[in-house]
Symmetry: C2
Subunit: 428 residues, 2 copies
């Protein structure tokens, strides 16, 4: 019995019937369709979302096989993990008579969208087929023509999306398809699809980027010796894992304290083959939060390929000119109580089209971002040693006096990475 | 092909041959015979021991089925986890013609040993049988007669032990069996057998008890708020787990700081049914390290069933008399630089027949025990929240200045316990 039939047997809908919505228990789906990459991009609200709806238009219905094909489309979408930024990662599969006749995924901004590539592969056979796509097809002219036009032109019978498009500009793709008599359905593996594009979804929904704070600590929660020495707390495997987190991000951010202490590179040092991508490796924007504009023009990150953005509250023109001559872009932001207004900083980064921000900073900035409620995920690498009671703490979080003041987290994932352990925690 | 035959094929021994020793790659055994309880009692040196030897006497040989029967004997031995102290946990299986004809495990000191119970169950059929026992049978008159006498009297043909007896008084069991013409072999699942009795083995070998330090911390490595508040860092499941660690221990130890701050009970509050044992629940000795004899005669732990031992460097008779009147036993120990000599304390506890010491103390005593090299295992419950940078640290470990001063650990086990995570770490 298909899922639609079983739902029908429960009296919620009928196969090819008129019920506009049907609900499926998420447990049924998540057990069968648990994808391996979900936990690593666990995001705050979505993982607390216990119930989701599968919606179908009057001509549509959800079949069990829809989940199989969507799982494949998600696999394809994931191949764009390191390249699509600032666009979302999207995959598509064209199926006719139960057979896959076209597959595609979005590779890079400016290149064709996933649906278009999949339709091209299917060719004439796409007529009457079902198209699975991990994000509602767009209905706007961006760098490429609207995907709905391509779907209508191809004469497909049905389009199933994992999730509706959170981009207000791109929305109404389904409305156009409905009007053209094409059956539509959405909500198939929606949590998994959202988890693949946490930054894009949050930016579209809230006008803010999605923030991951990476930390490395000893088993006793220390991040540096009293003298500041901290290289290396974790082993090679963990540091390689961090490189992958950088590579998938729109930007890598640090604070002026870390910049002055460590003179970090903040770049991606993995080869294209290691990331299993074609073409050159994209270097995420490097962002330095530097209230007083203390970044030295000789800073290592200014000498590397890619762009460095220094965000400051300092309006001194000479300082700024020196940094700009050294290759930095400088952006003046408002300050609050003598420090950069972190909320304003994040709004500005979202305005610039940045989805995922990967933060590698000291306890001060990491703690301030957390206290400001801007952090979506903490990724903590825990090394198997003790650094002692004089070493520096994990996060500067002052003012917690009672047990009731504690900051609750949800551990979304915990796994071994070499000799270290990676803890993915989500603020509640 | 049996293991013996495969070893023979490698030219190391011959079946029924004369080679007194044969080596088996531990990987082969551990993959097939990995027992679920091994990791939870991981101990320092044994888990670093990568190679072990299976020794057989001239009349013996190891078969693959020996490992199956020994695994069963270990399961039986584990049933004495909460009751045999100060004796080791031991299980035995009698096998004849491939069929199990007797099983037994040691329940309590003063009651029959495992071999004797298994032989009783086997009865006359034991003649010519093989006996599997997790510890070399004893050859001395303690509270019960020597087990080797029972084995010889039963006319068994062969005795296989997981490990030789580390007790110098009990040793030479095999020599007596050899002299009686009974085939012997040892080293079958030896690591697993040692892990079941870490305290007994260490006490016999080193004259020191085996020390487990239990800690509870937030994700940022904090154990109490600045004001000392710490109840409860972890959830109910973790606290239940700690009760089981207490229940298997010979003694539960704390320091005077924790006693004065929390007035703890340090008792086992689990029912016999919960522990799956018959009879009353054994209350481990409670040990308070109290250099200046500040334990108040009104301390809660003095009012509970069981014995409390206060170890002090204070020789004042009046103080001592007050505590003794309140039910405590007071033991005067030497001091070093104004604090109890921890090594002397441990020697004294071993002398008193204590195997496993479970420590629930503050950062000061826990840190001092670790720094003194007396800790065999850290069990850290990590709760999913942040307590902030003003909260108290995990362990008082001063004087670590450089990264090279770090205390390396091996993570032997890491698992979820309710909403918390339990990390079992072994000092290297």
């Amino acid at each position: 019995m298909s899922l639609a039939e079983s739902a029908g047997a429960l009296g919620k809908t009928k196969k090819h019937g008129l019920s506009p919505h049907m609900s499926l228990r998420p447990g049924v789906l998540s057990e069968r369709y648990c994808l391996p990459f979900v936990s690593s991009v666990a995001s705050n609200s979505w993982f607390r979302q216990k119930q989701f709806e599968v919606s179908v238009n009057p001509h549509g219905v959800i079949e069990a096989t829809d989940f199989d094909h969507m799982a494949r489309a998600l696999q394809l979408a994931r191949r764009g993990l390191y390249t699509t930024d600032p666009n979302p990662r999207v995959g598509a599969v064209v199926v006719k008579d139960g057979r896959v006749i076209g597959e595609g995924f979005h590779v890079r901004a400016g290149e064709p969208h996933a649906e278009v590539l999949a339709l091209r592969q299917a060719g004439e056979a796409a007529r009457g087929a079902t198209v699975y796509v991990t994000l509602e097809p767009c209905n706007h002219h961006g760098r490429t023509p609207p995907c709905v036009d391509a779907l209508i032109a191809a004469g497909v019978a049905r389009v199933v999306a994992a999730m509706r498009d959170p981009n207000p500009l791109a929305a109404d793709g389904f409305a156009r398809l409905d009007a053209a008599g094409i059956a539509t359905a959405s909500g198939v593996l929606e949590n998994e699809a959202r988890a693949l594009n946490p930054g894009f979804v949050k930016r579209m929904r809230d006008g803010l980027p999605w923030l991951r704070v990476k930390l490395a600590m000893s088993l006793d929660g220390r991040t540096a010796m009293a003298n500041g020495e901290s290289q290396w707390i974790t082993g090679e495997a963990a540091r390689g894992d961090v490189q992958r987190l950088r590579a998938r991000s729109s930007a890598v951010m640090t604070g002026i304290g870390t910049l002055l202490a460590d003179d970090p590179s903040l770049n991606v040092r993995l080869a294209a083959e290691t990331l299993d991508i074609e073409g050159v490796v994209r270097q995420p924007l490097r962002v330095v939060l530097d209230t007083r504009l203390q970044t030295p023009p000789t800073a290592r990150l200014l000498t590397l390929p890619g762009t460095t953005l220094v965000m400051t509250a300092e309006r001194d023109g000479a300082c700024r000119a020196r940094l700009e001559t050294a290759g930095a872009e400088v952006c003046v932001m408002p300050e609050v109580e003598g420090r950069l207004d972190l909320h304003a900083v994040m709004c500005e980064l979202a305005r610039r089209g940045l989805n995922e921000i990967h933060v590698e900073a000291g306890p001060l900035l990491s703690g301030a971002l957390l206290a400001a409620g801007l952090v979506d995920e903490l990724v903590i690498y825990m090394a198997p040693h003790l650094m002692g009671s004089e070493a520096r703490g994990l996060l500067h979080l002052p003012g917690l006096e009672r047990m009731t003041d504690r900051v609750p987290l949800k551990i979304a994932d915990l796994r071994a990475v070499g000799d270290d352990w990676r803890i993915t925690a989500v603020p509640m």
